[in-house]
Subunit: 271 residues, 2 copies
Amino acid sequence: MESEKEFLANYRLEDYERPSLTTDVAAFMVSTENRTEGRRDPENKLRLLLIKRGGHPYKGMWALPGGFLQSGETIEECALRETMEETNVMPAALVPVAAFSKPGRDPRGWVISNAFVSIITEESVKQVGMDDASDAQWFSVSFDKDDEGLYHLTLEYGDVSLKAVLAEERASYGRTDFRIIDNGGLAFDHASIIAAAMTVLRRAAGDYDTIFGFLPEEFTLTSLQRVQETIMNVSVLPGNFRRMIRNYVEETGEYVKGERHRPAKLFRRKK
Amino acid sequence: MESEKEFLANYRLEDYERPSLTTDVAAFMVSTENRTEGRRDPENKLRLLLIKRGGHPYKGMWALPGGFLQSGETIEECALRETMEETNVMPAALVPVAAFSKPGRDPRGWVISNAFVSIITEESVKQVGMDDASDAQWFSVSFDKDDEGLYHLTLEYGDVSLKAVLAEERASYGRTDFRIIDNGGLAFDHASIIAAAMTVLRRAAGDYDTIFGFLPEEFTLTSLQRVQETIMNVSVLPGNFRRMIRNYVEETGEYVKGERHRPAKLFRRKK
DNA sequence: CAAATAGTGTCTCTAAGACAATATCAC
DNA sequence: GTGATATTGTCTTAGAGACACTATTTG
């Protein structure tokens, strides 16, 4: 009878075929500020961080940041490391989306990706400073279902417009998988990863907890409401929104002055 | 300048270190029938499918069904295949939980597991028939937080009682990770996988969609209510429960007779 | 009949939606 | 003052919780 010690001494994982493992990060940000000068209303847009691929495969196409898992690190550490390396952006939290493992999804061979949603504050992005020539850019996101049941994912940055079309492949127990009909110029199967990430994000944003992640420590209730409306693609009357989140926030005593209207109180998250 | 074709021809995934990949399945069932004869009230319990490990490592200990991913299959296919092979139970749906990748989690080496929650109908279990000598058994599950913030996971089947203790390691955006304080006799890090699976299950069961998965096509509202109460560990007044699910079900016209009380209407899921 | 569970009706309370009114800044 | 947004209050409505009541079977 072999002991566990003996078993382990003789066991070789290398005797079996193994896949390569990558992580991909769908990092979302809500922009509250005006990019184009001269307009009155701030453009609140949900934005997604993409990088232009510098090497093969899919060279020159846009993709989610991510890369191969290294020995000794967790997939979360890998996701953080790769995002930092490729974009200089530091994700605050990672929410697992799913693993993508369909054979053929990567032309290099047997590669499986673990995808995450990450939530980034606009503040932390501004600290990094992202120049327009960079290979990493924030694309505005829209994701909607049409009358025929098809999903349209549109990602736009400057002149670049990526329009992917997807179909619902399977929806069970709050999870939805998407099949790519048109990848819209996105690398790999990233269109379907982004679609899945959007459903996870919207689901998570049902908890108020999630929306706080997009804002700095102190914020106005109007900016909080804009984040919520932007992510969920809904519209709420200001009075009602204030009542709803009443118990989740507390006043700091500070005000935002200098805006040509009544100053807004600054709040922080309660507890 | 190298073309993509040339790049791929020269590319070798094998040049980089790769992990082994496994899947683990937390298959849940709600038992609505009396196991012990002579008792009046049916024992409604949430149950989890575990197998007794026949080989090293963790030989003789209880574990989730699962196994190594094979080339050419998706992780979902692997999860289904391994569960079928090891337990004869056919999961109806798989909901991803997370990937578990902490170094050292498997004594054999660098092994990463993708975990799923699966929902099984009692009907399909009875068709298979599971004998008491089998290595696969349904354990009753209880999972609760104590006053000190520790989580207690108790799995029981016959004389076997596995009591694991876990601490909340990180909770963000509706996801909770657990650190094992006492594995309670479960193999690998399966105690923390099961804990994570429980939170995913409870979260999913917030949608009524999920609870239908535990029942056959036609069911009584009382059995539906019992499933809901068992999973969520709550108690609802019958009248209120009926009102809440009113719009999700429709009558079949059939009745359950022979029960020494008023016959219950059979319902099916609407739409 | 009693025991047991199935199913209905209604009062109350809370929270969300609609909307009106007031507050306070820059200019 | 005007324009703009912040903030408060109130009426209405939908849904959840509590609870009392009726219905229909077996033994």
